[in-house]
Symmetry: C2
Subunit: 483 residues, 2 copies
């Protein structure tokens, strides 16, 4: 894992000044931020793992201005890093000597069509704004992640963000019909298709999605909308093990089918952290349980009784001794309170000292086995380490996080990061899983990528990178090895 900022690239100051002058002439001098200006927020990564450096933060205001900025960089051979809401967890948005291109000013919702169920948005629109715009027209944009208030669509696309509704609606990739992209040479590709079917040549769109800005800069996208659900049922269930949670998942899916839109889980330790540290949270069930499952069902139909459906399934599960206790939200407010328990988990963990995090996925059928075995191996490796394995069980996606032993020094714990990585990721690999389910590679995981990824796939990735960015200027040193 690259948990330290690399030495910054050294650019020729004269070349840089010339390029910045031309860029200022096009996008306005006030949109070229230099040292002394307010650039700190662009260069600080949330977890504090990385501190960026840059000669300037550039804030173009349109796709054409992005194309101009990138074209100038390309002509002068200057590397550049695109940045959205700066909420990424793997350092992909941090410049180390490169120019930083902030996309925040590309913030228009260009079009929303409720018949086509599409919305065309610029890259700097926050996820929450897209959700709101859809809702205002009776539609749903189902992508939902913890950072949705500040993360931007361009970042969601570049990292193929997942979240809590993947089970039913898919990742960001599956929610995207078309893209507009500035290529590393400054050309603008207009691929803003609204079509559900279009078999005219190679699928270029999906190369840019999840490429973390290393193949170009996404400036706009056509996203899929869905009819807004008319009903929702949310249940929090206490169970004795991850295996019991998985059994409940199967049972619910079998009865509810597509109506099951989310199935999350968290452990006792996670629940306790949230209740201890996060104001406004309340214990959902009377007793304690080893694990908790959070299930959400939605329906777009007019006359439907989802709560009755959930109740029937839970009754059967009680009889089969698969669940210990459960509550079904009786109101939107109660449902929101249940979701807060899950959504506050990452924040709550900050109060328990150092944490070492893994964002992994395995086939759904193996998720419970994985959680049990990974916990056993980690606890065997370090006495007192506190495992908090939670996440999106229905997608096989586990945030396998470790909090430091209570009495341990934080830095000493963090120093064992590599050891735990190897333990967890080796197990994941042996189960046919992924060491990065939804957060991407960035800087943090590029050694893991080099270690675990199929070598033929790495060769093909490098070939694509060379084909699209022969000078290696787009987000250098990210995803792939090398600078």
């Amino acid at each position: 894992m690259s948990t330290q900022s690399p030495a910054p690239l050294l650019l020729d100051p004269q070349v840089v000044e010339g390029v910045l002058a031309r860029i200022a002439g096009r996008i306005g001098a006030r949109h070229v931020l230099r040292a002394g200006d307010d650039v700190a927020s662009y260069l600080m990564e949330e977890r504090g793992l990385f501190h960026g450096t840059t000669p300037a933060v550039l804030r173009p205001g349109s796709a054409e201005e992005v194309a101009f900025v990138v074209g100038e960089c390309a002509a002068a051979g200057l590397p550049f890093v695109p940045q959205g809401g700066n909420t990424g967890l793997v350092g992909g948005q941090m410049p180390f000597g490169s120019l930083l291109i902030s996309l925040s000013r590309l913030d228009r919702i260009r079009d929303l069509d409720a018949t086509d169920l599409t919305v065309t948005v610029e890259t700097g629109v926050t996820l929450a704004r897209v959700q709101e715009a859809a809702r205002a027209q009776g539609c749903l944009f189902p992508l939902s992640i913890a950072a949705e208030g500040s993360c931007q669509i361009g970042g969601n696309l570049s990292t193929n963000a997942g979240g809590t509704a993947v089970l039913r609606y898919g990742n960001t990739r599956e929610l995207t019909l078309g893209l507009e992209v500035v290529l590393p040479d400054g050309r603008l590709w207009n691929g803003l298709s609204r079509l559900r079917k279009d078999n005219t040549g190679y699928d270029l769109k999906d190369l840019f999605i999840g490429a973390e800005g290393t193949l170009g800069i996404i400036t706009a996208a056509v996203l899929r909308l869905f009819p807004e659900p008319r009903q929702r049922a949310t249940a929090l269930v206490g169970v004795e093990s991850p295996h019991a949670a998985l059994a409940l998942f199967r049972r619910l899916r079998s009865v509810a089918g597509d109506a099951l839109t989310g199935f999350e889980f968290l452990p006792h330790f996670g629940m306790e952290m949230v209740l201890r540290h996060m104001p406004g949270t309340m214990r959902p069930l009377q007793g304690d349980h080893a694990y908790y499952a959070l299930a959400e069902l939605t329906s777009t139909r007019q006359d439907d009784d989802l709560s009755a459906m959930v109740l029937a399934v839970l009754s059967d599960a009680f009889e089969a001794a698969e669940v210990e206790d459960a509550v079904i939200a009786a109101s939107e407010a109660q449902a929101a309170a249940l979701w807060r328990l899950r959504e506050n988990l990452s924040d709550a963990q900050k109060y328990e000292g150092g944490s070492i995090k893994h964002d992994v996925s395995v086939p759904v059928s193996k998720v419970a086995d994985f959680v049990v075995e990974a916990a056993r191996r980690c606890e065997a490796h370090m006495s007192g380490v506190r495992v908090c394995a939670f996440g999106h069980m229905g997608d096989g996606n586990v945030h396998f996080n470790l909090s430091q032993p209570v009495d341990m020094d934080k830095a000493a714990f963090i120093a064992t990061w590599e050891d735990f990585n190897r333990i967890v990721h080796d197990l994941v690999a042996s189960l046919g899983g992924s060491f990065s389910a939804e957060h991407g590679i960035g800087l943090l995981k590029k050694e893991e990528l080099a270690h675990y990824k199929d070598k033929v796939a790495l060769d093909l990735m490098a070939a694509v990178k060379r084909a699209f960015d022969p000078k290696g200027l787009a987000n250098p040193g990210k995803v792939l090895m090398g600078r």
Copy 2:
């Protein structure tokens, strides 16, 4: 349009003989078919537009044998064309002097997991066999196209096949989790992931899907399954216009939401052709109607009453004078009979003389406008031409087919193909649509691709091709311009 077979590539016979001898040594001489052997079925394209030529048909029996065959071709610089069930409609599967690699012997279903909802199949398995294997485990593989009895999964993947359930389940691309691919240099890439979430580098899988064999040969895939629907409701509705059909689509989607899995339409002329020419078909409604919509709803829930839901929607639509007459299937047999009317349409058209076909898509909101305007322009261009516009209204996908005027010479009509292409495809382009929604490019539409596709996209496609296949050996002369 390339409606003639190109002049065959000329290969050095000595080189060919040497390569074939080595291949025969590995895969068995009986799997190397030469002139005089039974190769005619491999070289004849269904519509008779193209006649292939090849020095030999190679039938490897495993992914490793495919890798060996391709490796030998690569070492000797010999071009090769992969072929599945030979049901493609654009000539992509035809060799013109290249070696032909038939994938039919890679026909194992390697694994099916009903918890993970995945099936791992080799490329030569027919679509119908995948459907059956899923059904045997209580699962659904939703891809469904007219050729499903003989087309193979490898061809479905290479053309990103669409079909009748795209509205709910997506194209083949959305149904695919992982691939195994032999690259043009003979290396084997194992990307058989079963994961729902995996953000570890560029999305290579989606480059091969829809690439029509020009970037490598798909040898196996992990496909997504779904819970098998427990209920189904099928309705055939007579309406006065494409706009009325679109209004019914909106109305149904609004009430039924995700339960609406298919929404097809066909015109009066299409219905008459089917009833006239296809044995065993029966008039579904008493009177005649300008257009017919075929709606299918499915549900995975245990207690559900889809027919009642459809009936309620149709009652409202009657009152709004949006529909003229309707029938809801009372049995599986009746539902199958209704679907036969739609599925037999392409075959029925063969009995009406020459036909010029377009497989186009537009945004869903524009599909009715398109059908009306395209018909108007075509009828203005040639008096007596008979328009049969039908297809997947819910996806915006129209098969805009023209039957020759009754008294016209077939060859004279076919000679006007280019004119009608320009009329129809120019209109499609002006509506932001695609001139190839689900059939692909192959040989037939590569001039259209060069004409209509964004030039930057064409450059990127060429860059990908060079990166993956620098010698240009994989399915040469298909999709992209050049040989």
